[in-house]
């Protein structure tokens, strides 16, 4: 079994329902996100549009975070999920530095690394991840990539030419796919980050570690 995720960006409307569901399900502390939706505005007025891209851990086949973790706190489950054992984590932040997707953070409450686990605890009970359940338009498709009859495999088959991953050049082989995305959605260097253009300007951040 190899679990994977696919987000159909044609369907995503940026409601952030997945983000909130994830926060609630996993008790993600203030100022940190396991899953977040990035908005990028494209074009020049009046020819403009807003794109939405949910970003979470890619559960890579060749995960740099797993490789760099000195104590195997980050480890693979049999179903392909890259899971994290917060009791074992020493908080070296190597994984945060190694992840090319910025998907790992230091939890300010536990002072350990944390990230999306595809809701491994729910999956173990044969439930779908919280974000999948919350999505009102079924933009999140989750399932077994090894099973050709699973929804995700069928979706990938149907959209062969349009299936993308983030930063394929990194050689991480992500198990998280996007359909309908472009460079603007998936490449952080393809968009400007201009001060004052963020919809949320005053984000409360909790201190991490005491020396940052």
């Amino acid at each position: 079994m190899q679990l994977g995720f696919l987000v159909d960006l044609h369907l995503c409307m940026g409601c952030k329902g997945c983000e909130i569901a994830c926060k609630v399900e996993n008790e993600v502390p203030l100022s940190t996100w396991r899953l977040r939706v990035k908005y990028v505005d494209v074009g020049t007025f009046p020819e403009t549009k807003r794109t939405f891209t949910p970003l979470r851990c890619n559960h890579c086949e060749n995960a740099p975070c797993e490789r760099i973790c000195p104590v195997s706190a980050l480890h693979y489950l049999d179903n392909g999920i890259v899971n994290i054992d917060k009791e074992r984590c020493i908080g070296c932040a190597g994984c945060v530095m190694a992840c090319p997707y910025g998907a790992i953070y230091i939890d300010p409450q536990t002072q350990t690394a944390d990230k999306c686990t595809y809701c491994a605890h729910r999956v173990a009970s044969s439930m779908m991840p919280a974000c999948v359940v919350a999505c009102p338009v079924q933009a999140n498709i989750f399932g077994d990539l090894d099973d050709p009859k699973s929804n995700i495999s069928k979706y990938i088959m149907k959209n062969q030419g349009g299936v993308q991953v983030r930063k394929p050049e990194k050689g991480t082989n992500p198990h998280h796919f996007y359909v309908g995305g472009g460079n603007v959605n998936l490449n952080p260097l393809a968009s400007h980050r201009i001060d004052g253009h963020s919809l949320f300007n005053k984000i409360t951040t909790l201190p991490v570690g005491g020396h940052h």
Partner: protein, 301 residues
């Protein structure tokens, strides 16, 4: 930031994304690298002096060993201080994951500390120079991977395209040679004759020269190999956040020491040599800090 080829056409602006996670490895990691360079560098220099100027070494065996022990402990202390869960450090020894350069480094550094104490035992308690010199050869052999493992760690940070193993390995070795020779000139230079000081200054100048060439090679040619490297190097170019600090570091660590060493040789001045050593040691911290910070400024998402 480097202009992406489609930026002009799309005028794409991020209007909502919570930047994760900012500076993750702060100045504590800079101190870690800097102290380790000195800790292993002085051992390299002691080995050289024993081989080239055995009659001048005398008490330096014990004194240099103490210096190395102190700086390796500074390195270990700051490594520990940088952990968010420092009291779980023992996990590295009981749940080791040997694909990680952190694990390999921690184990090697521990063995290195053990050998340093053995050296101290031979030089201070046993007063046995022969046993010391024989053990030192093994310590030098271990000091090389201890110096290099941070380069391996940086190269495992695949998100930070700027840090590549071949260049970082060379930088780590040159940093150890530079800081080791500078520290020896500064603290023990008075106990050595002019010829020995000249040898140390030659190492200092050459390692400064080679390091400078490596940095300039990245500076000029780095942007040609990857878009992310180009974007990172923008932070030390033009009005980038770290431009001033980068050039202060390059001048202090490399250019001025090289010039001062030439001047000291012409004038046979140990005072100028010591000034070069001070600048090199202080400049090295700045150079390392800039190189550590800039890739962390780049948004990963």
């Amino acid at each position: 930031m480097a202009t992406h080829e489609i930026l002009a056409a799309t005028n794409a602006v991020v209007t909502l994304d919570v930047a994760l996670p900012g500076i993750v490895w702060p100045w504590l990691v800079t101190v870690n690298m800097w102290a380790k360079s000195i800790g292993t560098g002085v051992i390299f220099m002691l080995f050289l002096l024993i081989k080239k100027y055995p009659n001048q070494v005398g008490n330096l065996r014990f004194q240099v060993t103490v210096v190395s022990i102190v700086f390796i402990h500074i390195f270990l202390l700051f490594t520990l201080a940088d952990l968010h869960q420092p009291f779980r450090m023992w996990h590295i020894f009981f749940y080791p994951h040997f694909t990680s350069a952190i694990t390999v480094g921690a184990w090697m550094a521990t063995a290195f500390v053990g050998l340093l104490f053995l050296l101290a035992f031979f030089s201070f308690v046993k007063k046995n120079d022969l046993a010391f010199d024989k053990t030192l050869a093994w310590v030098v052999a271990l000091a090389i991977p201890v110096t290099l493992y941070t380069a391996g760690l940086m190269s495992q940070c695949t998100a930070r395209e700027l840090w590549q193993m071949p260049t970082e390995s060379a930088q780590m070795i040159f940093a150890a040679l530079l800081s080791g020779s500078a520290f020896m000139i500064l603290v023990f230079g008075n106990k050595l004759d002019w010829e020995a000081n000249k040898s140390l200054s030659r190492i200092l100048a050459l390692s400064a020269f080679m390091s400078f060439i490596l940095y300039m090679s990245e500076y000029v040619f780095g942007p040609m190999k990857a878009e992310e490297v180009a974007a990172v190097l923008e932070y030390i170019k033009g009005d980038g956040e770290y431009t001033v600090m980068f050039w202060i570091g390059q001048w202090m660590a490399y250019l001025l020491p090289m010039l001062l060493i030439v001047l000291s040789r012409v004038n046979k001045s140990e005072a100028i040599l010591k000034l070069a050593a001070i600048l090199a040691l202080a400049g090295l911290w700045i150079v390392k800090h800039v190189w550590l910070m800039i890739p962390q400024l780049l948004p990963m998402s």
